[in-house]
Structure formats: structure tokens, C-alpha cells
């Protein structure tokens, strides 16, 4: 009896997770099915691109700058122990392109844009605006989810490029200007150590993360019920689930890709 009850308690969250994953898979398939169908609502789509991309630019650049700088400091501390300071440029660039750029950019976009998506769609759900779309024979997936998911897929990699580029500049600034590493060596090691596939894999990762965070945020938003409290709940969930998903998928992709 005890045993069954404990199993039941363990089973509930697990089943809940499975259901969420299933619902998200359905949302993704629905997005794909709606993708080729008119009307295309380009202005609406550009609005989303701007919201997710352009308006995340500043926060992503800031994140990139400081992570690049702190990476340089930390790597310097480590490399100095065996006289490997010259590797600093490569180390900063590698970790930015392969790992920190994609992950931190996605986390920042999840916090900034994912939360906003979930709150907006959640509010639309509880104020019957989603029902109004249905009543006007417009599918919420087509009108609301698809442009957001596409924008996540497109903009997160672009933002990652910005993040990585500025991070490398920040690393250069700390390494060369503050810690006095020879600029020639710094650049040379960087070019030697980073290969094209590091870049591609990092960008591929960030595409997956962008898709994930937009999908999760839209899914949570459209699931909202009740009132303001319900919207608050799905907004929190959107950010937490996105962050956890990004970190878990990051490990899996890294294990598979690299």
C-alpha cells in the first residue's frame, strides 16, 4: 500500500512532464502545418522579430561584454599556473562560441522575451481574446504561436552572434589591455584554436534553444486559466521551464555534437 502510494506520488509529476512534452510536440507540429498556409501576415511577423530580436539587443550585448571579460580573468588565473597565458584568447573564444554564448543568450532571451510572450498570450487567453480569434475562424497557433516560434528560431542565433562577438572583444580588452598579454599572440592563438565547426555548432545550439524557449513560452501562455494569478503562474513557468530545458538540452547536444 505504502509502496503504491509513494509510486503514485512519484508518478504524478512524471506523467505531468510527459503530458507537457506531448502537448509541446503537438504545438510544434501544428506550427509546421500552419507554416506554409496563407495569409502570411508579414507585418505582424516583423513585429515579433523586432520584439524578440532588436529589443533584446542591448541586454544581450551587455551580457556578452561582461561574460567575455570575466572569462578572460578566470582563464588567466588558471593558465598562469602552468605558464599558458598565451592560450587566453583561444580559451575565451572557444567557450564563448561553443557554450556560453548560446546558453547565456538564450537564457537572457527567455527571461526577457519568453516571459513577455507567456504573459501576453496568457492574458489573451483569460480575457477571451483567444476565444475571439477562434470565433473569427483564425487559429491561435497560426496567428499567435507561429510568428513567435519562428522569431525565436531566427533571432536567438543572430543575438548569439552579437553576444559572442562582443564577448570576444571584452576578453581581448581584459587580456590585452588589462593583463598585458601580447595582442599578436592573443589573436593568433584564438584563430588557431577556434574552427568553423565550433561556430556552426554554437549557432545550431542557439537555434534549438530559441525554438525551445519560444515554444515553451507560447505553450504556457495559451494554457493559462483563471485570472491575473493564472497569468503570473504561467509566466513564471515559462521562464523556469525554458531555463531548465535549455540547460538539459545543452548537455545532450554537446554530448552528441562535439
Amino acid at each position: 500500500m505504502m509502496f503504491v502510494r509513494i509510486l503514485g506520488r512519484m508518478g504524478n509529476p512524471f506523467l505531468g512532464l510527459l503530458r507537457e512534452l506531448g502537448e509541446m510536440a503537438i504545438l510544434l507540429v501544428n506550427c509546421l502545418l500552419w507554416l506554409p498556409r496563407p495569409p502570411y501576415r508579414l507585418r505582424h511577423f516583423f513585429g515579433q522579430l523586432e520584439f524578440i530580436g532588436v529589443r533584446s539587443l542591448f541586454i544581450v550585448a551587455l551580457t556578452g561584454l561582461f561574460t567575455g571579460m570575466v572569462l578572460a580573468l578566470q582563464a588567466y588565473y588558471g593558465f598562469r599556473k602552468f605558464g599558458g597565458e598565451s592560450l587566453l584568447g583561444g580559451a575565451v573564444a572557444l567557450s564563448m562560441t561553443r557554450e556560453i554564448g548560446p546558453v547565456l543568450t538564450s537564457l537572457m532571451v527567455a527571461a526577457r522575451a519568453g516571459s513577455a510572450m507567456a504573459a501576453e498570450l496568457g492574458t489573451m487567453r483569460v480575457t477571451e481574446q483567444v476565444d475571439a480569434l477562434l470565433a473569427m475562424a483564425v487559429h491561435p497557433v497560426h496567428y499567435l504561436a507561429l510568428p513567435r516560434v519562428l522569431s525565436g528560431l531566427i533571432m536567438v542565433p543572430l543575438l548569439t552572434v552579437v553576444d559572442v562577438f562582443i564577448g570576444i572583444l571584452g576578453g581581448y580588452f581584459v587580456g590585452v589591455m588589462l593583463l598585458g598579454i601580447n595582442p599578436g599572440t592573443y589573436m593568433q592563438k584564438m584563430v588557431e584554436m577556434v574552427v568553423a565547426s565550433d561556430l556552426y555548432n554554437g549557432l545550431f545550439k542557439s537555434m534549438v534553444f530559441g525554438l525551445l524557449l519560444a515554444l515553451i513560452s507560447c505553450h504556457q501562455g495559451l494554457k493559462a486559466r483563471g485570472g491575473a494569478q493564472g497569468v503570473g503562474l504561467v509566466t513564471t513557468r515559462a521562464v523556469v521551464y525554458s531555463a531548465v530545458a535549455i540547460l538539459i538540452v545543452d548537455y545532450m547536444l554537446t554530448a552528441l555534437l562535439f
Binding site: E128, D131, A132, A135, A137, H139
Partner: protein, 244 residues
Amino acid sequence: MHLIRLVDVHKAFNGFRVLDGLNLTVKQGEIIVILGRSGTGKSVLLKHLIGLIRPDRGQVLLEGVDLARLPERELFSVRKRFGYLFQHGALLDSLTIGQNIAFPLQEHTSWPRSQIEEVVATKLAQVGLPGVENKMPSELSGGMQKRAALARALALDPEIMLFDEPTTGLDPITTTTIRQLIAETVRGLKLTAVVISHDIELALALADVIAFLHQGKILTQESPVSFQLSPLPEVQQFLKGEPD
């Protein structure tokens, strides 16, 4: 003959029974007003008519086709025949009033922009809100939002109009204007309207048929004249506004 027919519709939320064996018929070309006390399930009933809510049991027949069992995709083509006014308006709050009313036109017609703008201006003038195209919904009062939503529901001159309390929260003068607008539109274009209300005056002035919803069932469905003379104690209590 019957455009819409609900047969033995049951709907419960978390075990709480809202519709409990409801039957209703709506004929082509008529205005039917559904009266009932607050919280009896009038809005829930209306949502069944376009498949926003599916019944637990029973049929929602539109020209003999059961919407309760229609796949989602086919529901969308059915919904194009309807105009729906939500109880709280449900304007899209990221769009201006003008864009809201243009929305169904942009989605379902290939009209040029100038024609759409013309229709938007006409509909807004009809509901007594000329020139608010560029305002956001949040800049309007509740009653104005409701009227803008009415303009949106009328935008495509849909065959079947579903209005959830079109005059609640409006002043008496505007109420009369809206009532006349609904009557003129429906009669002029030979449309069909299902109107929800708890306003008896509106019902008597507007309806061809009045239906009374009570405890999950339609107790009676008859002409305004005979409705007023109804022997049912629930109807008489409602008409006189006597407390329980």
C-alpha cells in the same frame, strides 16, 4: 427549417452541472433572445453554438451537422458564417480599434485597403463611435469597447449573429440605438440572431422568440406576448424581479 437545434445538451465543469439536458431550436431569419438569471450558463450555451465549448453529451446541430463531433479543422469553416459578440468585448488589445474591426475583413476577404477602411468607418459610425479608429481598446470605456466589439462582430455581415449581452452596461439612449441597429441589420439582410440578455425590455422589443434558461434547461421558448403571460412560476418571478 431549423437552422440550429440543440438536443439534450449536457455540460459540467469539474462536476458542477451548468447545462443539464438543454433543448433549443433557432429558425432561419429569426431573432431569438435567451433570458436567464446571472450564472445560469447563458454564455456557456452561446459558446456551444460555434464549438468554443463542446458538450459532454448531446448534439449541437447546425443545418443537421453535429458541431459537437466536428473535427477542429471543419469547425473553422463553420465559424466563418458566424459573428460573435463576447460578453466583455474581447477586443485584441495589441491592435487599434480600427485594426480590430478590420481584422475579420483582412483575414477572410481579399478586399482592397480602401474598401476595408470604408467598412470600418461605417460600422463604427453605426455603433455610435465615429472616428475612434486609431485609439487602443484600453483607451475606451467598457461600454465603448463593447460597442466596438459589436462593430467587429458585424463587420462581415455574417449569416448568424451571436450576441452575448449586447446592451449591458450601456446608457438607455445607446441601448435603444444598439437595439435598433441589431433589428435593422438582422431584418434588412435576412440574417439570424441569437441574443443573450437579462434585460426584459430589450427582449420584448427585439425578439421574435424568447427562450428562458433555468437550471440548465430551456424552460420555455415562445413569442414575447405569450412569454409575458407564461404560467411558469420561474418566468413570472423573473419578469417581476421578485427575490427568492
